[in-house]
Amino acid sequence: MPDIDEPLPLPENPATVAELLPHLPVPYDYARQYACVFSQELADRLVEVQAANPEQFRVTPLALTDGTFMIRGAILSEVPNGLYGGNFARLDASRFDEIALVPWAEAVALLPQPDPEGP
């Protein structure tokens, strides 16, 4: 009989944010291994939700070179009740299975290369 207070074991290779919902908030060192990657439609929706609630902490989705968008997985250590909890609660949880969890290094490799313009 497991201890009632024992946390659920974290998935070793979660595919989407939906898989992590029962575990939120996940530990920072676990969350930072991943990037949350999603479509432009979801990126636009996130920006829209945050714009409607300007008093809440926000995070800006960054465009990747393959047309998708990303935010740090580390923010999953700050929801549902942490820094980003205010806007997280306003998102459509039924679409969290559309937010892929990608290994951090793989997502960073898809960020545009630093622009050499100017100093």
Partner: protein, 275 residues
């Protein structure tokens, strides 16, 4: 550090227990306003030791004549949580723009560490909020990052050709202040204060890790871009991220970078001792 210094600064016995002597408490009115805002964000007041360190920072910067030059400023240390650390010391810098930072990136003694790829702070302060010939920008770095070429804070508007920027590519480390030419403090790594200031149309000063350099560089009209911290705002987008650990930033009118460095160094050291 005595146990009494660990009591929240607004505890009824913060000044001391009856019959057991007393300890100093913060007194500066601006500091008390700031500490109250930090408490609201954190959910609890900081310890007496931290509060007194912050009080000394307010007092010392006012005595040195640099406090009034701080227009957008955050102490990214001392507060109990990242939310508290993002409360502005002065001005109306946004308190809710964490842009990907999480509590795990924050150390109460060392500051906030960038990831070098995505995390930054938008100060909400356009470059042209300060006069063309009366401006400064600074960060206080407690640990250098691993990235080879970074911008610690500022703006790059390539169409206007006017930059407010703290620059480090391991060859040049210095600043642009309403200009398109760097004042380099050569052979320096960006640890401790990195800053730039300008109080005339003809020259700007950069300070890196205790050394200042002033060069003749003509000013150029500032732009409307907001300054970012942990990267530059390149024509409206974050770019050239740093993974350094930053414990303080400020933007505003011109000031003595040496006096600011002294005050911030004392602040960060005192916070470390208090915790």
């Amino acid at each position: 550090m005595a146990l009494a210094a660990k009591i929240p600064y607004d505890h009824p016995y913060a000044g001391g227990f009856p019959g057991l002597g007393g300890q100093a408490l913060p007194t500066d009115s601006d500091c008390l306003t700031y500490l109250a805002a930090v408490k609201a964000a954190d959910g609890a007041g900081v310890e007496v030791g931290v509060a007194v360190a912050v009080d000394a920072f307010f007092r010392d910067t006012k005595a040195a004549g640099v406090f009034d030059a701080l227009e957008a400023c955050c102490i990214l240390a001392g507060a109990r949580t990242l939310a508290g650390a993002l409360v502005p010391v002065v001005g109306d810098a946004p308190t809710n723009v964490a842009d990907g930072f999480a509590g795990g990136d924050y150390s109460r003694t060392d500051g906030l560490t960038g990831d070098g790829s995505t995390t930054y702070l938008d100060t909400g302060r356009p470059q042209n909020s300060d006069p063309q010939n009366d401006a400064h920008i600074s960060v206080f770095i407690t640990a250098s990052g691993t990235a080879a070429s970074v911008r610690y804070a500022g703006t790059t508007d390539t169409s206007a050709g006017s930059y407010l920027l703290l620059y480090d590519d391991n060859s040049f480390t210095g600043a642009y202040v309403s200009s398109n030419s760097i004042t380099d403090v050569s052979n320096r790594t960006g640890v401790n204060l990195v800053g730039g200031t300008r109080d005339s149309s003809s020259q700007q000063t950069a300070r890196v890790d205790g050394v200042s350099n002033t060069t003749a560089v003509a000013s150029i009209a500032p732009t409307t871009l907001n300054s970012y911290v942990f990267c530059r705002n390149l024509n409206g987008s974050p770019n050239a991220f740093s993974d350094a650990t930053i414990a303080f930033y400020s933007i505003g009118t011109s000031l003595s970078l040496e006096d600011l460095e002294t005050a911030v160094t004392n602040l960060i050291n005192a916070i470390g001792e208090a915790l």
